[in-house]
């Protein structure tokens, strides 16, 4: 039985990935705001600047747009850059470099040049930070062909999918979540996996209902599944992991078995990823297999509030999921 001290937390796992990449791949460098600060990005990059030098761990002027664009250009010139946006909200200044340049470069240039750049963006909600320090905009990027969108929910994925992203040769939006930084598990040795082969995984098997989510939503699903089990409901949990290109087949298979689908997402409902999950599943299985209509659990249609009273009701909790699922079983 492994003990607490054998375990690695999610934030440290990200740092392990950086250290691995910087050690093994001289083309890797990191650029972004707050990289020389001890507190900007939790424990996920601690002292990398001291270990690998400030020429490769570049803390920058407050220029999200130019820094992201520069990383795209460096990738075209043979480097493997990682851009860090400590809040996803901040990277909106960089949308041209991400959506117009990085995502389209390979296609526009006839497949002759690929900007293999990883753009790490952190979802950092709560703490009364309010509307502009809390957004989870993964669905925007999942909409765009040419981008790969990765949302790890476990420490192992946080490490191995970051490495896979940087080595994939494509532009990748890698999104980690500060609410997962304390999640721990025993990690095996680093694996260099092929990102192109990755997709959703069943992380808990069950027979009565399918819960599908990505990133922190996967944790909510797993915790809810434990509670549901106590109430006699067997939930299967699918961790989506890779939102773009999206491979929904596994979720459809699961729903074929359970007949009930809940899509849980930390974004908003309209044109959001929960809707994408449901649409993709509905297209793939016969209508009579559904025992209930598929359901979405997402954020309310408002910017994030700052007051703790409102913040408390804003983000879906384990109880929210349990209550919604239990209700769906009632006649």
């Amino acid at each position: 039985m492994s003990t607490e001290k054998d375990m690695t937390d999610y934030g440290t796992a990200i740092r392990d990935a950086f250290a691995y990449l910087l050690t093994k791949h001289p083309e890797v460098f990191v650029i972004g705001q707050g990289l020389w600060s001890p507190w900007y990005v939790g424990n996920s990059m601690t002292k990398l600047d001291q270990e690998f030098g400030i020429a490769r761990i570049i803390d920058t002027p407050v220029s999200e747009s130019a820094c992201t664009g520069a990383a795209v250009g460096a990738a075209l010139a043979g480097m493997k850059p990682i851009v860090v946006h400590p809040r996803m909200d901040f990277m909106l200044y960089a949308m041209d470099s991400i959506v117009n340049e990085a995502a389209k470069w390979s296609s526009m240039m006839g497949g002759q040049a690929n900007p293999g750049v990883t753009i790490r963006s952190i979802i950092n909600r709560g703490g009364e930070q309010g509307a502009q320090h809390s957004q989870a905009l993964h669905a925007w990027f999942a909409h765009v062909p040419g981008l790969r969108v990765v949302m790890p929910s476990t420490a192992a994925d946080a490490r191995d999918l970051l490495i896979a992203s940087v080595l994939s040769g494509d532009p990748v939006i890698y999104i980690d979540d500060r609410w997962l930084y304390a999640e721990k598990e025993v990690l095996g040795p680093v694996k260099e996996i092929d990102l192109h082969s990755q997709g959703p995984k069943i992380v808990r098997t069950g027979t009565d209902v399918t819960l599908a989510g990505a990133g922190y939503s996967t944790k909510l699903c797993l915790d809810a599944a434990v509670e549901l089990d106590k109430q006699g409901i067997s939930a299967e949990v699918v961790d989506i992991r890779i939102l773009n290109p999206f491979k929904p087949e596994l979720i459809a298979e699961s729903v074929t078995k359970t007949g009930r689908l809940f899509a849980i997402d930390g974004g908003w409902e309209t044109s959001g990823f929960a809707g994408e999950i449901i649409a993709s599943v509905v297209e793939r299985i016969r209508p009579e297999l559904f025992k209930i209509s598929p359901q979405r659990i997402t954020l309310p249609a408002s910017p994030a509030p700052s007051s703790r009273a409102l913040e408390d009701i804003y983000y879906p909790k384990v109880e929210t999921l349990v209550q919604r699922v239990v209700t769906s079983f009632k006649p």
């Binding site: 747009s65 992201t68 390979s106």
Partner: protein
Amino acid sequence: MNSKLRQALASGEIENSPIIDEELDISALSSKDLTEQLTSMIRIRQAEVKIAEMRRDGHVGGPVHLGAGQEAIAVGISSHLRKSDRVFSAHRSHAHLLALGTDVRKLFAELLGKSTGLTHGMGGSMHLWDQPNGFYGSVPIVAGTVPLAVGAGLAAKMQQSGDVAVAYFGDGAAEEGVVQESLNLASQLGIPILFVCENNFFSSHMHISQRQPIHSVARFAEANNIDSEVVDGNNVVSVSEAAARLISQSRAKNVPGFLEVVTFRHYGHVDWREDIDVGVNRSASEVEKWKSRDPINRLKHAILEKKFLTDSEIESIYLNINSEIEVAWKQAASDPYPAESELLRTVYKEVRK
């Protein structure tokens, strides 16, 4: 000269100033170099004239942004570049590309959407690529490639390759925030890059006087502590000299440089029309005045004065290039279109295995 020109430009007096009508001083140049530069400029001009005609006659389906009248800039700069340098450009990029030695046929094929084109028919005139010749790419989002060029320069520094990046952009792009960020970043990180602002006074339909309070874009270089030159962009000798100094300094010291070149485009913003008096501040007399400053004619004049070439030798350059262009066009026109499978093949790297 440089500071007088800079002042005249900044104050809005430049377009009527004799400072941009000075004769070319070719005394330091060899007959061979001058002939090469003249030939390159003529090839670019004749290619664009052909493109304009083909667009007008409906053979080219997409928009083309022509730079006829601005050839001296790319030719003057490219003579100091090597294949491993990293050149980025924007919508008006044909000259920047061809001056690096790109095959005219591949450009034509691209404009026609053919699989033999520079980007295999996937880009058209506004998305061009020829990395083997140093052209990393052009896109039509104004200033979109400026930070990319900064990054390619940063990579050159990290790779210790001695290469430089070049970011071509126009006076309109200087109004984009990301250009300011890019100048600051390049200066702060010490990046080997030449920023080239082709100031042709117009962004699409708007004159610079309607867009900026001071008409010299090089003021942003000064604000970011970047060494700059402001030169007559229709004088290939001035452009070449300024580029030589700034590029060699960038290579040697890992610093950015900024070259502002004053010029004018003969065609309007897009396609073959001249955009005269169509609601824009661009009169026929102004276009005529600038055509009298044609960079090719000015170089020809200087070469003939020095008797480096005769009229008939220049005539034969034109004949050869015109025939090269006709052959290239015919080939491109008969080339195949991309296969349907190309649509999805190039979106991600791995699909191509």
